[in-house]
């Protein structure tokens, strides 16, 4: 369904070039939920934006490809790509708080994708908008309201409604639970899970929070410093993690606001502006060997779909 091959993305900044994604490979099968996990700055959002081809102007896709159903997204014309956006591939952005236009009623924003893609017009579109809003659990009182009148959880539901109204094949949900209280987080996870099952959506669920991801993902990819560290089914990742970084993530608990890991991993994540040679994680790794500084990202462990990029996987 989705196939990312040797993707390299960088950002030009005032202080140099930031290598946001390096040699990333990822396959997502039809109808499954892929959990994408990593600390802040590991390149998760960048991957999502690259799949939508809406990276900021200072970003550059250096090499690699992203294929959806065998079509290379990079080779599509801007017009063709625009028609895919919001219809075939939808995205729910990090920070739903600001993802809604403050001057438009909820129902109008939610039904807008139908109008853009000529699937419905006028009152008909609004009616379908209300239907989806009801489905995500928003009652009629909020349909004609403006974003500032909604709570965080309600906004997140509205944003999800907006993303699924066109019945997309692929949904990228970037940190949909970050910034919400725990009860609301669980409700949103359930909503996404039910929606995904019901409509057979291929979903990429991005989060800092590995424990939450295990509740929804069929498979999980762990990213660090723009590289894939480990990838496997959820039970493989949880029961037999092969990468020391995965082990550390499993032992970490996100804080109340959910945007920082506490009791987490000592040290700071690597900076995309100055990626060290060798294994990116080695400076924070308890199992680091001398050879890690010349590690070149050959596969360190592979068992069917379960791969880990570490030369010391046995030590875990």
């Amino acid at each position: 369904m989705i196939s990312v091959n040797k993707l390299n993305v960088s950002y030009k900044t005032d202080s140099g070039v930031a290598r946001a994604i390096t040699d990333l490979d990822m396959d997502v099968h039809e109808g499954e939920t892929m959990g994408l996990v990593g600390e802040s700055g590991s390149g998760k959002s960048t991957l999502g934006l690259a799949m939508m081809r809406i990276l900021p102007k200072n970003a550059q896709i250096l090499s690699g490809s992203i294929q959806v159903d065998g079509t290379d997204l990079m080779s599509l014309s801007t017009g063709k790509m625009r028609r895919l956006r919001g219809e075939t591939i939808s995205m729910v952005f990090q920070g739903a708080m600001n993802s809604l236009n403050p001057l438009m009623t909820i129902e109008r924003q939610v039904s807008e994708p139908l109008i853009i893609h000529n699937m419905a017009q006028g009152e008909d579109a609004l009616e379908r908008g209300r239907e989806v809003l009801r489905k995500v659990g928003l009652k009629s009182a909020v349909w004609k309201q403006y974003p500032h009148q909604l709570s965080g959880g309600m906004k997140q539901r509205a944003v999800i409604a907006m993303a699924i109204i066109t019945n997309p094949k692929i949904l990228i949900a970037d940190e949909p639970t970050t910034g919400l209280d725990v009860v609301t987080q669980m409700a949103i996870v359930k909503l996404l899970k039910d929606t995904q099952r019901e409509r057979n959506i291929t979903m990429i669920f991005i989060s800092h929070d590995l424990p939450i991801v295990t509740k929804i993902a069929d498979r999980i990819s762990i990213m660090y410093g723009g590289r894939l560290m480990e990838s496997g089914t959820t039970s493989e990742i949880v029961r037999s993690p092969r990468h020391p970084y995965t082990t550390k993530l499993l032992a970490s608990v996100p804080d109340v606001r959910g945007d920082h890991l506490i009791s987490g991993i000592p040290g700071e994540p690597v900076s995309a502006l100055r990626l060290p040679a060798g294994c990116l994680f080695r400076e924070r790794c308890e199992n680091a060997l001398k050879e890690c500084s010349s590690y070149n990202y050959e596969i360190g462990y592979q068992e069917k779909d379960h791969v880990a990029f570490c030369i010391n996987t046995g030590a875990v």
């Binding site: 939508m52 993802s99 001057l103 907006m162």
Partner: protein, 320 residues
Amino acid sequence: MAAASYSTYLARRVILTVVSVFIIISFNFLLFRVLPGNPITLLYRSPRLTFNQEKALSIEFGLNRPEWVQYILYVKNALEGNFGISYYYKVSVTSKIIPALENSLILLIPATIISILLGIYTGVFSAWRENTKADVAVLQTAMAFYAMPTFWLGGIFILIAIYIGGIPVAGEYSVGSTSIINLMEHMALPLLTLVLVYYGQFTIMMRNSLRDVLSEDYILTAYAKGADSKRILYSHAVPNAMLPMISLIAINLGLMVTGAILVETVFSWPGIGYLIYQSIGHLDYPMLQGAFIIVTFSVVLANLLADIIYGLVDPRIRYR
């Protein structure tokens, strides 16, 4: 409920406006009294008034009454639009100010509307092409005009008009004419000067406001929906970018008035600015006081209007 909170907002603005009006009137009253010298001699510029003349004037202006009575009389007169008799013209100040105000508005309203529209258009053009050559060119042109002294630009236009010939450079009508064509011919140069000097600030405001909006998350959301640039700009970005413009426009209306004084003077346009300029020459204090109050009132009212519009377009104010 929602509607009630908009009326609360409106009520608050109206009260604020009324308070501002009182402060302006009171300030004028005080100013008049703290100026050195006797108000009567100040008013009549002659230190050699006889005792009887001065007494007669004191009674006419109520200066023999207690201060608070004077104040109430002053406020009452001001609210009734009664600012006394012009020293120079020997007629009521109001009868001179009203036609001058009309002439100013004939010039200022179209100038304001055109410069705002031109500013918005060029600002949108620039922001959409941020950091390209077109953006820089539009921005630098706007800033160059904005930086030009009004009287200098007006003077250049007068020189050019005289050189070409056939374009009127002074006044509102040719002698004996009242035709609208004649009015428009006379208006062309002062209007052009005002628009050029003023549109630049709106360009810069609009460009910066829109540039900020374009980096908002909801714009990214609009892209993700598959919206094309037209929809991104006109359904999502521009309406949001207009919000800060409304209050900035209101603030800048005050500056427009100063510009009007300069332009009306350069082109001898018989508006309130030209009247102020002439009254300074005549040391016509009652006229100046009246004109200042009227100008300040207009700015305060324009601000109220901006607040009302702001409340109507921003749901965050309408439904709080």
